[in-house]
């Protein structure tokens, strides 16, 4: 089945001038939802070991699915002395420019969303190159899981 864009003859339209063509694959949404981490207030000294928090969802697909958003080491908080402690939404934070004035580069809270064959995982890591206190706050990530499989090699042209 083919559907052409407005103004194009579907019989002769180039692929890029089609709205839909069943020759090609599409994103098929399996699940949308959110993962929320409620993080405690935490104080550590210079060079302390990092703290890791995770929240998971079992997708039940048996393979690694395509997943959005693009969230890899997204800055979600800084120490309270520098104005941190606010609730964060990863989807919003992922598009923010990194602000060096937010604090020492190695003392930060970073969020990553990733997929495995069984789960999607929201992971938040707090790092303490320098001493400081992270305030209690929540980190939320709104996700979309697709039935499409990561690693599937194909060419439909």
């Amino acid at each position: 089945m083919k559907i052409s864009k407005s103004g194009f003859d579907v019989e002769t339209a180039a692929n890029k001038d089609l709205i839909l063509s069943t020759q090609f694959d599409m994103f098929k949404i399996a699940k949308t939802g959110s993962l929320v981490l409620n993080l405690p207030e935490e104080t550590k000294g210079d060079g302390a070991a990092s703290s890791t928090y995770t929240q998971t969802y079992s997708h039940g697909l048996g393979y690694v699915p395509l997943l959005i958003p693009d969230a890899s080491s997204v800055l979600t908080d800084v120490i309270t002395a520098l104005g941190g402690g606010e609730d964060a939404i990863v989807n919003d934070a992922a598009n923010d420019a990194f602000i060096m004035a937010s604090g020492p580069p190695g003392t930060n809270e970073l969020a990553t969303l990733y997929a495995t064959t069984t789960q999607i995982v929201l992971k938040v890591v707090r790092n303490w190159d320098y001493a400081g206190t992270f305030g209690a706050h929540s980190v939320t990530c709104y996700y979309t899981i697709f039935y499409n499989k990561i690693g599937e090699t194909f060419n439909l042209l």
Binding site: K16, I19, D70, S72, F98, T112, L113
Partner: protein
Amino acid sequence: MAYGIKVSKPDVNVEDATNVQTVFNSENNTFKIFRGDTTTSATNYTHGLDYPPAFMYFVKSGTTWTAGAPGYGGEKEALVSVDATKVYTHTATEMYIILFINPLNE
């Protein structure tokens, strides 16, 4: 809508469904996926089109996969790029790259 195809979400009247209430509406373009490839080196390959295609990529770390590039905020590096004929990867880290028929610059 003069003619076309519209499919509404369950319990929504398709006659007056808004865009967010539709599963499909032929008035709106869709991403048309034509190719998926895995790379494990900094390399390039011919994509088969004559314009730069829209794309997405996923990066492997251990046994997990993450969408897009590592790093935070504005310091993320671009690990994949395209031009009118080729796809270029800029890392030996395993990646899965999806190409769309949709032009990147339309």
